[in-house]
Symmetry: C2
Subunit: 668 residues, 2 copies
């Protein structure tokens, strides 16, 4: 019988070693299949359900290390409710970390707790004192977690107790706080148990989690619609963008544009000879994804632009759009990367019955693997070598998920500071999966969430549900593809409202050039721009009357100045008793940065609301006074009591923002 049980006994020992139950660890994405995300300097909170049989006291710790290291760093976990434990740590390096959880039965604290109860009940504890001394000796003989100084102290205490004749004196030393401290640091860890998985945490650089994007078409920067803009024209525009307060400057594709089936103005099927074509029809005889459209300039010009941008505090982001024009060199060089029809012609992009004859799509499988995958990765690496570390990826949901997971891992292995923004507007699970497989930031549904219920539900999902651990939404107010209906009909106030929402609700946000001028001219009945820059060169009056550049400057300044705006999940919606007024707060854990925001979502009518100042967050009573600062008017005042009123008239101001000043700060 014994013989037959040997394999089963291996199970016995494997199970017995992990006596403490450790489960429901967060973050843990799909059972550890995907890493969670954080940024350098961000506080990462890890939680777990931890419990054991019986009544003995347990303790637990979070283990973290850079992936590849041998040694773990240990952070004590604390029980906070109902068998749930928590620890926080701050990663300091832009790399992959791993973490797990350990727990053990704390012999000394269990003994200490029991013996105290017995003593209080008047029971004789002579035998218990001997057991206590035994645990001290065990710590001395077994523990390697005590430094020499502490070990010497523990040795001394142990010898002292053994020498003491009086049980009352023994008890007093054994129960002392000093000894408890030593034993917490170095006491025996009975039944030391490990969580069953090592979990990955990808730690990005800070800009992954906090960035303000400005998108422009380089060819529209000459100031003359008859002259194709150049990188030098963009350099001339850098002070403008920097003055608005942005830190990422993003361009749609800058590659040669195909001529076959080129689209004309307003997406017409036939182009006039002087029409520049869509920059998304990538590739011509002048080159493909590794080439620059000649009219924009040379690589030398591009390098100068990257350098000048950096001097203005701006980082360049490029578009990574995998589709090709029918003139792309790959088609001849690698016909196996494309789909061909039975008649030998190439298959154009289509979504039947719609056809897109200026575009062909690569095929990622069959003979395109691994050649195409390598080429696309190398294309990204090529631009990284030319100084670009941020990529906005076009329509990633129409390319295979495994490709993204592989490609992003490949690039990050070499350049962990690379940032990928997923431009996917599709179904929610695909949006989230793209974030799981590696995208650093994600476009979102924000563009179509306009009323109070929609915004509240969506932001609550993003900031409280599991996706908060791996998805960082980037709230774009508009894009070359999206001229939202809301903005088409809202006037200037609507632009202020949507800017305010994007810049205060999200840590990553962006506008597409023209937004600050309240450009709203649309193709009738569509969410598309009239005379879109996607198909023609435009020139803009950057001081056009009615612009909202002051608002843009102000909001970007707040974002830089207030730590509360640099965290995403610290959002609380508060009560304002009017469905047109959205009212919310963001604050840092220590309350030193505490902001309140109110915005009138109705761009056409004045709206007022009573609202609750969250005095309770400071532990204040409902009728207490609190000092606040109006961030727009830049002046301090005192609110008396939690119920206050705000009046937001679109013709005067559409939003209000206040900083609450804690009683502690006021005193200093």
């Amino acid at each position: 019988m014994e013989q037959a049980l040997k394999p089963a006994d291996r199970l016995l020992h494997a199970l017995a070693d992990n006596r403490i139950a450790i489960e429901a660890v967060t973050p843990e994405i799909d059972g550890g299949r995907f890493p969670a995300k954080a940024a350098v300097g961000e506080v990462v909170v890890v939680e777990a359900d931890i419990f054991s049989d019986g009544h003995d006291l347990i303790d637990a710790a979070l283990l973290t290390r850079r992936k590849g290291d041998k040694a773990w760093s240990e952070t004590p976990m604390r029980l906070y409710e109902n068998d749930r434990w928590r620890a926080a740590f701050v990663p300091v390096e832009n790399t992959t970390y791993e973490y797990t959880v350990i727990a053990w039965r704390d012999l000394f604290r269990s003994w200490r707790s029991d013996v105290a109860k017995k003593k209080n009940a008047g029971q004789d504890v002579a035998s218990e004192l001997k057991e206590g001394l035994h645990i001290l000796k065990k710590a001395l003989s077994e523990s390697d977690r005590l430094d020499p100084e502490r070990r010497a102290r523990l040795q001394r205490v142990t010898e002292d107790i053994a020498r003491l004749a009086d049980p009352a004196q023994q008890f007093s030393v054994l129960m002392g706080e000093d000894l408890l401290g030593l034993m917490t640091a170095g006491g025996p860890r009975s039944n030391l148990s490990y969580y069953l998985r090592l979990l990955d945490l990808f730690v990005d650089r800070k800009r992954a989690a906090f960035s303000s994007w400005y998108e422009l078409m380089p060819r529209s920067q000459s100031g003359d619609p008859a002259r194709h803009g150049t990188f030098d024209d963009v350099i001339a525009q850098l002070p403008y963008v920097r003055d608005l307060g942005f830190d990422v400057l993003y361009f749609p594709p800058i590659h040669p544009i195909g001529k076959t089936n080129r689209k004309g103005r307003n997406n017409s099927l036939t182009a006039r000879p002087d029409d520049p074509g869509s920059p998304y029809a990538i590739g011509s005889e002048e080159g493909g994804h590794k080439a620059i459209h000649p009219e924009l300039g040379t690589f030398e010009d591009f390098h100068r632009l990257v350098k000048a941008a950096a001097e203005h505090g701006l980082e360049i982001a490029l578009d990574f759009a995998i589709q090709c024009s029918p003139d792309h060199p790959w088609i001849k060089e690698h016909p196996e990367w494309f789909d061909w029809r039975p008649d030998g012609t190439i298959r154009f992009a289509e979504n039947p019955p719609k056809k897109y004859e200026d575009i062909v799509n690569v095929h990622f499988y069959r003979d395109a693997i691994p050649g195409l995958w390598h080429e696309l990765r190398d294309t990204v690496l090529f631009w990284v070598e030319h100084g670009v570390k941020i990529f906005r990826v076009d329509n990633p949901h129409t390319k295979p998920l495994p490709f993204w997971e592989w490609m992003i891992a490949e690039v990050r292995r070499r350049h962990p500071d690379t940032i990928f923004l997923a431009e996917a507007f599709t179904r929610p699970k695909m949006m989230k999966r793209l974030a799981k497989v590696g995208f650093t930031q994600s476009y979102s549904y924000f563009t179509w969430r306009n009323n109070k219920v929609e915004l509240t539900e969506y932001l609550t999902e993003l900031t409280t549900e599991e996706c908060r651990h791996y998805m960082r939404p980037n709230f774009f107010t508009n894009t070359p593809d999206i001229n939202p209906f809301y903005l088409q009909n809202s006037g200037r106030a609507g632009f202020q409202v949507r800017l305010f929402l994007a810049a205060t609700l999200a840590t990553n946000y962006g506008i597409y050039s023209g937004y600050e001028l309240c450009e709203a001219a649309a193709m009738p009945g569509k969410e598309e721009y009239l005379d879109s820059e996607k198909y023609e060169i435009r020139a803009w009056d950057w001081d056009r009357p009615g612009h909202i550049k002051d608002d843009v400057r102000r909001l970007n300044a707040w974002r830089r100045a207030h730590p509360a705006l640099q965290q995403f999940t610290n959002l609380s919606f508060y009560n304002a008793y009017n469905d047109n007024i959205l009212y919310y707060g963001k604050y840092t854990d220590d309350l030193s940065s505490f902001l309140l925001f109110a915005v009138n979502l109705d761009p056409l009518n004045a709206q007022g609301a009573h609202f609750e100042v969250p005095l309770w967050e400071f532990g204040l009573s409902d009728d207490a006074p609190i000092m606040a600062e109006d961030l727009v008017l830049d002046r301090r005042f005192t609110w008396q009591g939690k119920m206050q009123h705000v009046w937001l008239n679109p013709s005067e101001r559409t939003y209000a923002a206040w900083r609450l000043i804690s009683p502690q700060e006021r005193l200093t």
Copy 2:
């Protein structure tokens, strides 16, 4: 460079193979760490989020097999909402199954959908027809999923199409339903993708999921408090238990009882010479866990009892209580299984400052491993060999979780029909973990959930949250340890209420002997019985006035007669507009068994309520008539419209139950 990338290319291929995203599979317990549970004949629903890049149509299947088999059974999955797919299968064997999910891009259906759109838009599809034919040929050359008859048919259709000259005729055949059927069965599965985990499903026998327990003390069955009851006395009592309608008969420990520090009546510290002691003080010089208390009978008597019980449709359940009396033979034979104090005496059970000096606990680690673990497993196997397959386990939360996981797996490996009921009343996560590590059924908080909000919240948790996949609560109305305060003060009506709740809300429920007699005498201020059978021999008048045996018989008869009462998660709470009246329904998927229950939770006062008959579940309008059957009064009537009224007077009846008769059934 290529050379350096080789390991990375392995990642590429490993990822590329699984193009379709398959995630959020349910059931999946702790990332597959623990099995889900089902019972033979139960419908198991498996769901997953499944989606892919691009616009091609996908399809998916659930794979199931008995663990250890090579071949999978395949069940088609169906999309039901928002990228969520579902399949159901019915396991037929009491063993461990495993399951996973596959998905693929369906080339033929994608082609068919696209070509239909193009044709509708008036586009030329000549080239598409050639591609369609190509997919058919691919199916013939690649697929091994077609039986010979279907393959021959596909071959014929393919040849026919190739011969047809007229594109319109080709189109018609290619788009035909017949061909679609063949291709769904045998068409190419492009990018066939596997979910990353194989998940376990433990399939119990039916009684694991549906059982009615009756607990009694064998020694109290003689009818004379001066005479120790025997197994033969229990045999004489079997018709009584069977007549009440139960199918499990459970005994507290039947082993020799220790004499050292034996407890007297009403848990007093000193026993009189004739006091029988607590059966939970297991072990004397007459033997331990593998022995029978001599006054109960011999093994021969026990075998006769097991056989007689089976003849009465009753299965015997024994208690598995690991603690020992100080006289247990193990203490001398295996001192290494126990804790010893510095003075050389054995450590009694204690929960400081409380001491339990009639009990010593084993120690599961140190030198007790693996000897004690083996002995405990072999003890269970010993009783299995003596005909017992159901064990109620005493206080499992005070023994190591790994021990239970190992021991239950060991027993089930040999006897998968063994059932373990966890008698743990402790914190919620421990209760759930015990179910995860293998316990078949679990005691619950039902005993202390009395009002409408408590019952609704608790049952909603049990029937809708993740624990529904692995935890089967057993609702005991009372136990030798628990004489609930509610019953102490409720009179006969309260006993009816709690019986009704237990028997209709849970598929597993039980009562402890005396409940049917409305026994409520309590130790003052405690939830304990006065003159508890745990410490003395009692004799009962089984026809004591005021008994509720009619209710017990009725409820057990309903449970056997109505399939809706044999499922646990099919519970819906409906509106009854009185907080004292709990009103709920249970029905089978096909509506053929549809029961409604109303119960007055207030045992002291008559209560009435308007309530909603859920006509909508039958697709009926709110004013439609429906035929119903009053299960108590055994008569049919018609309700007109959804709003009805019920009046429940504790002195007449505390509950009502109706069966709704669907319009379909009425017609047949």
